[in-house]
């Protein structure tokens, strides 16, 4: 189901959480709401779910205006940041909850729960209680619970925020594959640009209750429409009003007169990537990103004086 949010505003007291926000999410798309904390992304997600009502504007899911519909009638699966497990119920009963409040036959519930636990790889843990699961397992239980009622829309609030790095990477990959398999319209909230780039087909960048830019990950990276998007997505050097990507800086073997003279202040080896911190002859500091091969070829070391060629810097009208 497609989602259409138009001109939505929301205030909490004096704090403006959302200021005239409109987004469109296509049927079956996997979209990320990306922004720093306080940017309004979670509020937007909760408004789509019906857990919060907008002060102004409307929300349409499919072709139904659900702006004033209660959450339970919206057909939305919601996965909470801290999973919101029903602690007094087993994993099986957690996943079965949506079906059992709909009074579905017992056999059907049992089969469906079994199928879902298989899908999220929790087979055999049906009789456990949430307190006996790890963070990653709780996350997957919460997802199975949300999927049990076959939602038209799946919403995830910081789905990987509380997990350690390795589990995160694993679950990201898995969420993508799951989405390919079941193709439900999915929106997830994140403050991690790498996560958004890796998982989403479309990214909506938010800041201070407004949308800065929406588009495919590559589009945002290659043609950011403003300073905020440029500096929030991908690494960046700031030179006054201008922005330069570190990997666009070319380091030359010898000063051939076409580049700018620079002093190597520090060389950081990060495996394939090597980070070179430079001081330009006019005193400005900048860092460049080169591959291991390039660093070896140039024999980069601290104190070295070399020449760099800067790309045409990007300047945004403020």
């Amino acid at each position: 189901m497609a989602i259409e949010v138009s001109h939505v505003s929301k205030r909490f007291g004096d704090f403006v959480a959302l200021d005239d926000v409109s987004i469109t999410v296509g049927d079956g798309a996997l979209t990320a709401l990306l922004g720093p904390s306080g940017s309004g992304k979670s509020t937007l997600l909760r408004i789509i779910a019906g857990l919060e009502t907008p002060d102004q504007g409307e929300v349409v899911i499919g072709d139904e205006d659900v702006t004033n519909a209660p959450a339970r009638t919206r057909g939305v699966g919601f996965v909470f940041q801290h999973y919101a497990p029903f602690k007094h119920m087993t994993v099986h009963d957690n996943v079965a909850f949506g079906l059992s409040v709909r009074k579905r036959p017992k056999d059907e519930i049992r089969d469906r729960v079994e199928e879902l636990l298989g899908l999220v790889r929790l087979d055999g843990l049906a009789k456990r209680y949430p307190s006996q699961l790890s963070g990653g397992q709780l996350q997957r239980m919460a997802l199975a619970r949300a999927l049990a009622v076959q939602p038209q829309v799946l919403l995830l609030d910081e789905p990987f925020g509380a997990l350690d790095a390795q589990v995160r990477a694993e679950l990201r990959e898995w969420l993508r594959r799951l989405h390919e398999e079941i193709h439900v319209t999915t929106i997830f909230v994140t403050h991690d640009q790498e996560e958004a780039m890796e998982v989403a087909e479309q990214i909506v960048v938010m800041n201070r209750g407004r949308i800065e830019q929406a588009g495919a990950p590559r589009e945002l990276y290659e043609s950011p429409s403003n300073e905020f998007v440029m500096s929030f997505i991908g690494p960046v050097n700031r030179l006054g009003d201008a922005f330069v990507r570190p990997h666009d800086i070319q380091i030359l073997a010898e000063a051939d007169g076409t580049g700018t003279e620079a002093l190597v202040e520090r060389v950081v080896h990060l495996g394939f990537e090597v980070r070179v911190e430079l001081k330009l002859h006019d005193g400005r500091e900048i860092w460049a990103q080169v591959t291991r091969e390039v660093a070896q070829e140039l024999e980069l070391r601290e104190g070295q004086i070399l020449s760099v060629r800067l790309p045409a810097p990007r300047v945004f009208a403020s």
Partner: protein, 304 residues
């Protein structure tokens, strides 16, 4: 990802972390220091136990001793007199009405105070605690002023043929008032800790507000409620002051167990007084034990 049984979420009420930290604090490097700490701990324990013994254990033990001093048959005789059995059943009847009333009211009020947003909430919170602050005698008197023959509602009630004061309805009222805050106050913190996430999750899964309350909220706060009910029951069983005033203390009509104890005591029937006192103590003890057992059984089942 750990696939072991270790929960990643902290289990509320699990004392393990705190316990281990105190233990490691008491461990040597300096053995002498540890010994001194242990001695200090023993001292504190002795003072606490001594205090309890003087105030509670000793007197209660004395009652039991005095009651059974001359064997069991005088006790049985005293316990089976018509006025004693009447007082016993009357007490149970009042508890059986007042406690459910306060439980329903208490859960509702806790939800309102914890989740509601309205003007005057703080004032309402203070009002709830008033029965703790006011002497039960004052509660009894004020009830007489409102419901008694010359009271505000007295005439109207009399016309309807309802007698509140000097009869069971008034005694239930008095008992309900003095035990009002327990369920509210025990439920509120549990409700706060439960949070709203699980309830909202239930809502997105299609549960109606009533289904959410019965299947998510109520099980989530059950320990708070149970504890509140136990305290309410204990308080209701033992209530003397307020009930004493509204009841008129008519033997075999409006005499509850505590009133019966005092009546026997004043009439130099010490066996009767002690026997009823022991029955009261056993009832309270039974309530506490029942809660303990219930807690253990259900906790073992859900949080094993």
């Amino acid at each position: 990802m750990s696939s072991s049984g270790e929960g990643a979420l902290p289990i509320p009420g699990a004392p393990s972390a705190r316990r281990s930290s105190t233990r490691s604090a008491a461990r040597p490097p300096a053995a002498a220091g540890a010994r001194a700490a242990r001695r200090r701990q023993l001292g504190v324990r002795a003072i606490a136990l001594g205090y309890l013994a003087l105030l509670l254990l000793g007197p209660v033990a004395m009652i039991f001793y005095r009651t059974f001093e001359h064997g069991i048959s005088p006790v049985l005789n005293a316990a089976t007199t018509p006025s004693a059995t009447h007082a016993f059943w009357l007490s149970l009847e009042i508890v059986a009405i007042a406690v459910p009333l306060n439980t329903i009211f208490g859960i509702g009020m806790a939800l309102l105070l914890e989740r509601g947003r309205f003007w005057g909430k703080a004032a309402l919170g203070v009002l709830i605690d008033l029965p703790f602050a006011i002497s039960p005698v004052v509660v009894g008197l004020s009830l007489v002023l409102v419901y008694g023959k010359t009271g505000w509602l007295g005439d109207w009630l009399a016309e309807q043929g309802i007698q509140v004061i000097f009869s069971v309805p008034g005694m239930v009222l008095a008992t309900a008032v003095v035990s009002l805050p327990f369920v509210v106050r025990e439920t509120m913190p549990v409700l706060r800790e439960l949070g709203v996430d699980a309830e909202q999750a239930a809502e997105t899964l299609g549960a109606s507000p009533w289904q959410t309350f019965l299947r998510i909220t109520l099980p989530g706060i059950r320990w708070g409620v149970v504890y509140g009910v136990v305290l309410t029951t204990a308080r209701a069983l033992g209530e003397f002051g307020a009930v004493s005033i509204v009841s008129g203390r008519i033997e075999e009509q409006t005499q509850t167990l505590p009133l019966f104890v005092q009546d026997r005591f004043e009439n130099f029937d010490s066996t009767g007084a002690y026997t009823a006192a022991v029955v009261l103590a056993l009832l309270a003890l039974g309530t506490l034990l029942a809660m303990n057992l219930l807690t253990r059984i259900t906790r073992r089942r859900t949080e094993a």
